[in-house]
């Protein structure tokens, strides 16, 4: 559960988000908004990548301003471009990368990496160089590299933008099967039509908050 209390954020003196107070407890939450509305900053607030200029963000009770590191461990973050997220040159090395600093032994790391890869039938990619994979495979690897760290919940920032329809559908299936709560920022309105709650951000403010059936038609109307 993430609780935002009176959160405002300014970047270089320019206000990006203003006075957000929210409790995020639903299993699937979508976030929509125009380019530049502040939704990427909103996503980054949820795991302490951005700390608010005012107010507080609590991730399962952990204040991101006090202990951003602990908050990041709770929240897995999937970025828009997997090429900008995958750190190591080889698939298995990248999954292992986040595990090493947690003090696991070699065998334990290998076992966790294999388990994470088989979750999406990616075991055959284990020793492949990342740059040879397709965009869809890369996004699933990026997701696996986050899931292997066993986060309590996931934040995704436009994860389908660079995917073709088939890979987008594959990711939708993968997300649907996740037991972890998900907060997803996206322009792909069909993706979140079945979610439990949708937030709409406009000029850094919360413009709508409710069921997809209420918020999405409103958002479509506003974007005309």
């Amino acid at each position: 559960m993430i609780v935002l209390d009176g959160v405002s954020h300014a970047f270089d003196g320019r206000p990006v988000l203003a006075d957000l107070s929210l409790t995020l407890a639903e299993r699937r939450i979508g976030v929509v908004g125009a380019n530049g509305s502040g939704k990427s900053t909103f996503a980054r607030l949820l795991n302490g990548l951005v700390v608010p200029s005012a107010g507080s963000v609590l991730v399962d009770g952990i204040d991101t301003r006090r202990d951003a590191k602990a908050a990041r461990r709770k929240v897995g973050f999937v970025f828009q471009n997997p090429d900008h997220q995958i750190v190591m040159p080889i698939v298995a090395e990248d999954l292992a990368f986040g595990l090493k600093p947690r003090g696991f032994g070699k065998a334990e790391i290998a076992a966790r990496v294999d388990a994470a890869l088989s979750r999406y039938d990616l075991a055959h990619l284990r020793d492949r160089p990342v740059h040879q994979l397709s965009g869809g495979e890369k996004q699933l690897i990026a997701l696996s590299a986050v899931l292997v760290l066993e986060p309590a919940l996931l934040v995704m920032d436009e994860p389908t933008t660079l995917l073709d329809l088939r890979n987008r559908n594959r990711l939708a299936e993968a997300v649907a099967a996740l037991p972890e709560p998900v907060v997803m920022v996206t322009h792909d309105l069909d993706f979140i039509a079945g979610f439990d709650r949708v937030l709409m951000i406009e000029d850094g403010r919360l413009a709508a908050d409710g069921l997809p059936a209420e918020v999405l038609p409103f958002y479509r109307e506003r974007m005309r």
Partner: protein
């Protein structure tokens, strides 16, 4: 992972630990430069050649390796000859030839990953001085990761600039390449932090 100049094989040199090979190479170079004898330098060449051949790698590979240095060594010899000492020239060229052969043999028989692990080990004792071997390892991995990414970005930018006739303009190619890859670097730094890894 077989990237780089490493050529897989099963020779004695392939099986030797990277640290031993590197140590021997450094010792050989120190010896060759410390002993000012033309005979020793000349004798070192066939020895180095034998070491190279023992790796089981063909002569084709050797010619490829030595094409660049060969030209340089010609220049060195010519300068010595012009300065009046042909013997000095022969000794200098022989010394370089022997060391280049030995160093090539080490590089060709040692995987990059093994060399990288050796570097991390060698940096261990420097830790009190503030050198963090894990950070160096991360930097090596990231750089290897970036090379194909840059190549792909460059391909896209060249295509885009060709569409407006700017594909021979250095600024139009390099500036967008640097700015786009800097953006990627910023995202990647975020992604590393997002995974809860602090360095």
């Amino acid at each position: 992972m077989t990237i780089g100049l490493y050529a897989p094989g099963a020779s004695a040199l392939h099986r030797l630990p990277a640290g031993v090979k590197l140590g021997a190479l450094v010792a050989a170079s120190l010896a060759l430069f410390a002993i000012p004898s033309t005979i020793v330098a000349l004798a070192a060449v066939p020895v180095a050649f034998a070491v190279y051949l023992s790796t089981g790698l063909g002569l084709n590979r050797l010619i490829l390796e030595l094409r660049g240095p060969a030209l340089l060594l010609c220049f060195v010899f010519v300068f010595h000859a012009l300065a009046g000492s042909v013997e000095e020239g022969i000794a200098a060229v022989a010394r370089f030839a022997a060391l280049i052969l030995l160093a090539s043999a080490v590089t060709l028989t040692t995987p990059v990953s093994e060399m990288a692990a050796l570097v991390e080990r060698l940096l261990g004792p420097l830790e009190p001085l503030g050198v963090n071997p894990a950070k160096v390892g991360l930097a090596i991995a990231l750089a290897i990761r970036f090379v194909p990414m840059i190549a792909e970005e460059y391909r896209q930018i060249r295509e885009a600039q060709a569409a407006r006739g700017l594909d021979r303009n250095l600024l139009a190619l390099v500036v967008p390449l640097i700015i786009r890859t800097l953006k990627a670097a910023d995202d990647l730094a975020d992604a590393i932090e997002a995974r809860g890894i602090e360095t």
